[in-house]
């Protein structure tokens, strides 16, 4: 009796999940200005500094172990915030890029496609990076810093600039980037 009950519950949970997740697909869209306003500024150099292994080594050499661990934890928590912020920006840029892909100008749609791809790549990176940063917080000796996030964010920023340049020549990119 237990196994059928488990299967019934699994089926019902799956049904609820599918209805919940499937509802609203294909209804994306929205106000682009509002979306762009949601972009949050990120200092990529500061993020690079936070995950720089040489910086970490420097702190380890100069600080007592207990203090180093505490500071390292703070630094990794800050890095997690940066990554989350970058992932949020990437999600917004995905939508902005999807909108720009509908543009009749092939140059704009190609640039938008590149932006979407990089924004998605960054978001995938972010999903991997957050657990790595938390792990690094617990095990400071391991080298788990996600350097690729900073590179991906830079690439994405450049593509936003390129897209902004193509769409509105006298204008530019969101200040948040």
């Amino acid at each position: 009796m237990i196994l059928p009950a488990v299967i019934i519950v699994a089926g019902l949970v799956a049904l609820v999940l599918i209805l919940g997740l499937g509802n609203g697909h294909g209804r994306s869209g929205g106000n682009l200005d509002e979306l762009a306003a949601l972009l949050r500024p990120i200092d990529v150099e500061a993020f690079r500094n936070l995950i720089d292994e040489r910086e970490q080594e420097y702190l380890r050499a100069r600080l007592p172990l207990k203090e180093f661990r505490s500071i390292h934890r703070e630094r990794m928590l800050a890095a997690v915030e940066y990554v989350r912020c970058a992932a949020q920006n990437a999600a917004i840029l995905t939508q902005l890029g999807e909108a720009a892909r509908q543009n009749s100008d092939p140059a704009v749609s190609v640039a938008a496609e590149k932006l979407v791809n990089n924004a998605l790549r960054l978001r995938l990176y972010a999903f991997q990076a957050v657990p790595r940063l938390y792990l690094s917080m617990l095990l400071p000796d391991t080298s788990l810093a996600p350097h690729f996030i900073a590179e991906a964010y830079d690439t994405m920023s450049r593509q936003v600039v390129m897209l902004g340049c193509l769409r509105h020549p006298p204008q530019g990119m969101p200040a948040a980037l």
């Binding site: 488990v6 892909r101 902004g164």
Partner: protein
């Protein structure tokens, strides 16, 4: 409708009751035959079963419901196929089109086989139809995932790896649980049907949930028609999964009810496809200018970073 006519319909209805194209309905049919102590000749089986059905005095409303849930979804599916062909959508979604055509062919084949061939032949046709149908459904899920990847090259590797990994895990889970169905009946074909049904439902459910979660997490959208197809399949797979459990929980007494629930699930699935087929394909509706004007200094600064690299 006379009593004999009703009995005839009851007999054939019981036989075809749950024929949705990839049917578990043979389960209740087989058990009904087993419990009524039938001979090996299909005709005598039908007659004996007709007798037992007459004895149970099925209300005409229930009889109508059974026939409706058996036939109507296939009529609607025929409309979806016609709509697909008229709009040339078979080029966009060839595997899904093939699946629908197969479901219709399977439905008519089973109907014909059940009228003229021995019951055992019918069971094997049913089993093979179900196996092919399950494979086609997996192929449709792959097709839907490919559509996501097509215009987003960055998703190709992670999505493929994710689907492979999830499929492997789900297959292991399904194989583990399937052991519990190995002795549900003395007849091998029934056991195989049950296992195929369960395993296929588990894997389809899992893959569709993963696809939905993936698209939601990355905030990307399917075209609305593909989302409708995925939604329909998802509802069908989850109801079929729950049905396997319900059949196990309630035993013989619940077979007909469970099959009705599953047929209703297929009906809902086909209606969703029909609605999404006739809804206009919507691109995401955006308003506003998008990337706002920025300060010239930031614009220059970012350009300089580009040049430096």
């Amino acid at each position: 409708m006379g009593a004999s006519e009703a009995a005839r319909i009851s007999a054939s209805g019981a036989r075809f009751l749950c024929c949705r194209g990839f049917e578990q309905r043979s389960m209740n049919l087989l058990r009904a035959f087993q419990t009524s102590g039938l001979g090996s000749c299909p005709q005598s089986q039908i007659k004996s079963f007709a007798g037992s059905m007459r004895g149970t005095n099925i209300p005409i409303g229930m009889l109508f419901l059974r026939y409706y849930l058996w036939i109507a979804p296939h009529l609607f599916l025929g409309m979806v196929v016609a709509g697909f062909l008229r709009r040339g959508l078979q080029k966009q979604l060839p595997i899904f089109s093939t699946y629908m055509v197969f479901a219709l062919v399977n439905f008519f084949t089973l109907f014909g086989v059940s009228l003229v061939m021995p019951l055992n032949s019918y069971r094997w046709v049913l089993l093979w139809g179900m196996a092919v149908s399950s494979l086609l459904q997996f192929a449709v899920i792959y097709e839907l995932a490919s559509e996501l990847i097509l215009s987003r090259s960055s998703l190709a590797v992670p999505l493929r790896n994710l689907l492979r990994g999830v499929s492997a895990v789900l297959l292991l889970v399904a194989a583990g649980f399937s052991g519990a169905f190995s002795s549900i009946s003395v007849q091998r074909v029934v056991n195989v049907l049950q296992v195929v049904d369960f395993a296929s439902s588990v894997v389809r459910c899992g893959l569709l949930i993963i696809l939905f979660v993936f698209t939601r997490a990355l905030q990307i959208s399917w075209r609305s028609r593909s989302a409708g197809i995925a939604l329909g399949f998802g509802i069908l797979a989850s109801i079929e999964l729950a049905g396997v459990g319900l059949r196990g929980a309630f035993g013989k007494s619940g077979y007909i009810t469970v099959d009705l629930v599953q047929m209703a699930g297929f009906h809902v699935c086909v209606l969703i496809w029909l609605v999404y087929l006739f809804l206009p394909e919507r691109n995401p509706a955006f308003t506003g200018r998008g990337l706002p004007e920025s300060e010239l200094a930031l614009w220059d600064q970012e350009l300089q970073r580009m040049v430096q690299r």
